[in-house]
């Protein structure tokens, strides 16, 4: 038995956990203590190291030398493996749940454990069903029909099934349950069901590690909270009495480096005018973008920001609303149509959407503009090569090997290729969706410069990012999207992180004056 200073029994003790990815420190000597029967929340911004920490614990990543993990007083062998952890009582439920949607609840329990078989390799279904029912009863969900296929169940119940299955997979009783973003796909109305189940789990003395970016949940559920920032543990605090504002302060921490901000000339001409846009997640979105203006679009995952980008690029249909580009209505019913009207999208998922992986830098770079390299319908190799060489140099792609396959470039260089490819279309509107996500520090600064350079050509630039720092550093204005609506339109003159974070996380538009007040200095 290990007890901490306050006399609580510690079931999971993590010490000196570091993880380096190709020279970049993602986790820096993180320590974590989880007590029996507590909900221990793990919070931090994207890239703060939460998911790296979970993945190290789950054995997906091998931590750096020197890390130590103790489970109920037993030192675990490094690197951790899921089977070792499960044997000693640490189990995981990841965001995708790992259930087979077409199989029944009982069958999902059985595949998790490996089928035990009776005479003639017969699967003892009655025993498996009884087992599933018993495990669900422990979480207060004994009334779930174990013969229903998973997909027929509400998502909360699916999550509970995954939790029950994970707990039952610990042969000698579970000690620690790790829940990684369990409510990410959960409708708010169903969350209560899940919380009740989590409380049943802790009532049995199991320590729960709870990763979530939904602060209201954490306030309600967490006994203690550990905050990560830039791969470091900032502190562990008691959950009691904390407000969401306190949490945001803990998450955000440092002040913005204002030196990155630069006054810029913004034209007065309206380039893009969006009115009353509605689609699945969006309702009545209206805004204007001006010549040479960089506008940030802030919002949580699921706020509708990527959907807005896809609609403006014609990759998704809108239900209502109009878009005007340079004063002319644009139909935008396909990416090709949007391209013809001068819209360019640098997509969030580079590897899936940004480029054709197996094809060369050159082929990728000229794909949207091929017709400008043709003579009598034939691609002029020389013309194309010359332009590709110019762009590769101008955008600093390294190594500058134009016949190298797209997939062999690093994330940052792939991003430069995609930016070059789109800037070559001379766009009137460029949308950057998470432009620096997964990009190393060096390339990050270059990409930020490319965003600025794009605006300097008179193009309207829309930047979608979860990184508030980035927005504050480069944007002239920030739009805050929450639950499908724009709740704030802020001039970036004296904005700070906390103001935007508050709006993004729980939306208080009344706290900040609307930007209409500055209409005067534009016209």
């Amino acid at each position: 038995m290990v007890h901490d200073a306050d006399g609580f029994r510690t079931v999971l003790a993590v010490r000196e956990l570091s993880k380096t990815f190709t020279g970049q420190l993602a986790l820096d000597r993180v320590a974590l203590d989880v007590r029996a029967g507590e909900v221990h929340a793990l919070i931090g911004e994207n890239g703060s190291g939460k998911s790296t920490l979970i993945k190290c614990l789950a054995g997906f990543y091998e931590p750096d030398e020197g890390a130590a993990v103790e489970l109920d007083g037993h030192e675990l062998a490094m690197p951790l493996t899921t089977t070792q952890s499960a044997r000693l009582g640490m189990v995981f439920v990841h965001q995708d749940l790992g259930l087979v949607p077409t199989l029944s609840v009982a069958e999902n329990f059985a595949i998790g454990r490996g089928y035990e078989t009776g005479i003639l390799a017969r699967v003892p279904w009655r025993r498996i069903r009884a087992h599933a029912r018993a495990e669900l009863t422990k979480l207060g969900c004994g009334d779930v029909d174990v013969d229903l296929p998973i997909w027929r169940l509400p998502i909360a119940t699916q999550t509970i099934v995954a939790i029950a299955r994970a707990l039952s997979s610990a042969e000698e009783g579970a000690q620690i349950l790790v829940l990684d973003e369990p409510t990410a796909a959960l409708p708010d109305a169903e969350a209560e069901l899940l919380f009740a189940a989590v409380r049943e789990v802790t009532a049995q003395g199991v320590g729960v590690v709870y990763v979530s970016h939904k602060l209201d949940e954490i306030i309600r559920l967490a006994d203690r909270i550990t905050v990560l920032r830039d791969g470091r543990k900032i502190e562990t605090v008691d959950g009691a009495g904390l407000t969401e504002k306190d949490l945001i302060r803990l998450i955000v921490g440092r002040a913005v480096d204002v030196s990155e901000r630069r006054p810029r000339e913004v034209g007065s001409r309206t380039r893009v005018s969006v009115r009353g846009l509605a689609a699945n997640a969006l309702r009545d979105v209206s805004f204007d973008l001006h010549e040479g203006e960089i506008v940030g679009l802030a919002g949580m995952l699921g706020s509708g920001r990527s959907e807005l980008a896809r609609i403006l690029f014609g990759a998704q249909r809108r239900r209502a609303g109009t878009v005007e580009i340079d004063g002319v209505p644009a139909r935008l019913d396909s990416p090709a149509a949007a391209m013809r009207r001068g819209v360019a999208l640098i997509p969030e998922n580079r590897r899936r959407d940004g480029g054709v992986l197996d094809q060369s830098l050159a082929v990728n770079m000229t794909l949207p503009t091929l017709r400008s390299f043709t003579r009598y319908g034939r691609i002029s190799g020389r013309k194309e090569r010359r332009r590709v060489d110019e762009l590769t140099r101008a955008y600093g792609v390294r190594p500058p090997m134009t016949s190298r396959a797209f997939k062999y470039f690093s994330g940052g260089n792939q991003q430069k290729i995609v930016i070059a490819k789109w800037m070559n279309t001379n766009p009137r509107l460029v949308i950057f969706d998470e432009p620096v996500q997964g990009v190393d520090i060096g390339a990050r600064a270059e990409i930020v410069e490319h965003v600025r350079a794009a605006a300097a050509t008179g193009t309207a630039v829309l930047v979608i990012s979860s990184e508030i720092d980035l927005m504050l550093g480069i944007c002239d204005r920030v739009l805050v999207l929450r639950e499908g609506a724009i709740i704030a339109d802020l001039v970036n003159r004296d904005l700070d992180r906390a103001a935007i974070s508050e709006l993004v996380y729980f939306g208080h538009p009344e706290l900040i004056a609307p930007s209409d007040s500055k209409e005067g200095d534009r016209s």
Binding site: A315, P335, A336, D353, L357, V363, L367, T374, I379
Partner: protein, 340 residues
């Protein structure tokens, strides 16, 4: 495409890795270069060895022209398959489509008294239409290509049976049709000329026009292509229409060669065509479905089996040879990929 004349040397930057200089100043790893030229080299070795062993029969004009002519129809069918495969889809209906074209062009002229040009246009039109239906179901409705084209193949086979009532059309075949398939132009058998013209045209489109780039981009990633402004659905439909049309051309040529309309002529082409296209994807541009790799694959299989038969191998050597060549080729190219 010309086989690049290359010099092997050690790359100064990486002494462990041999690279090859290609025309135009590019360099590539030796393993890739070896894969690129393996099949053409094997073809050359076959020709030299068989010519040496059977100088009186193998290396004669008569034998060479027959060897080529025999495979012209298969080559055209292989070229038709390239289009759907390049956009990442399968078409299992091309062989049945070829068969329908054979019975239509022979039947409409001999049984229904249509003039030859009209019958040819009708046969090609029906073949293209079959491709169009395939393409629309796959690209617009979103049904799996394997299922759609297998169903289409069955429907077409049924239609052939219905139209021919199981009979072979061999009377009243117009001489013009026979002239299309037999005889030669400047000493080259006509079917070979057709196959060569189609190959050159297709190679031009695929390698030198935006359309070709778009088709390969779709095959590489539908999402990335669509988000680059490529009209993915429209071009996928076009690929199937092209496949249908070329299968129809192969049918008309086959009808001319045979001088009759046999309802069973199509289906046996399917597997050899796939074997050749996949074998071809290991050569010239390894890992990519390409025109000259396909043509060389068709020739290699034919030269190899003809030579072996002349050396006394039994008639069933052909499928054995085809299967073995395909397996060896894909295993070797897999192995070379790992070296990369």
């Amino acid at each position: 495409m010309t086989t690049p004349i290359a010099t092997v040397q050690l790359d100064p930057a990486d002494h462990a890795r041999r690279t090859v200089a290609l025309p135009g100043g590019r360099r590539e790893p030796l393993s890739i270069f070896a894969a690129r030229i393996a099949l053409p080299v094997i073809l050359l070795v076959f020709i030299v060895v068989f010519s040496a062993l059977r100088p009186d029969t193998f290396f004669t004009t008569a034998n060479l022209t027959t060897t080529l002519a025999l495979q012209a129809v298969l080559a055209i069918l292989c070229l038709s398959l390239l289009l759907p495969l390049i956009v990442g889809e399968l078409d299992l209906s091309v062989a049945a489509n070829l068969g329908l074209s054979v019975v239509l062009v022979t039947g409409l002229t001999s049984q229904n008294g249509w003039p030859l040009p009209l019958a040819v246009v009708a046969a090609l039109g029906v073949s293209a239409l079959i491709g169009l239906v395939n393409g629309l179901l796959i690209a617009r409705v979103g049904v799996n290509a394997f299922v759609v084209t297998i169903a289409m193949s069955a429907l077409v086979t049924g239609a052939i049976g219905g139209y021919t009532q199981g009979n072979v059309f061999y009377e009243n075949i117009p001489q013009g049709l026979v002239d299309l398939g037999r005889g030669d132009l400047l000493g080259i058998p006509k079917p070979v000329v057709y196959a060569a013209v189609i190959a050159i045209a297709l190679w031009y489109v695929l390698s030198s026009t935006p359309l070709g780039r778009y088709l390969y981009a779709i095959g590489g990633s539908k999402d990335a292509a669509a988000l680059s402004g490529v009209p993915v659905k429209r071009l996928t439909v076009l690929a199937f229409v092209g496949a249908g049309l070329l299968a129809g051309v192969a049918g008309v040529v086959q009808a001319g060669i045979l001088g009759s309309g046999n309802p069973t002529v199509g289906p046996p082409f399917l597997l050899p065509a796939y074997a050749a296209v996949f074998l071809g994807a290991t050569a010239i541009q390894p890992g990519v479905f390409n025109v000259w790799g396909t043509v060389i694959a068709v020739l290699t299989v034919q030269v190899g089996t003809t030579g072996l038969v002349q050396l006394g191998a039994p008639f069933w050597i052909q499928p054995i040879f085809e299967g073995a060549a395909l397996l060896i080729a894909v295993i070797v190219s897999r192995w070379l990929k790992r070296e990369e």
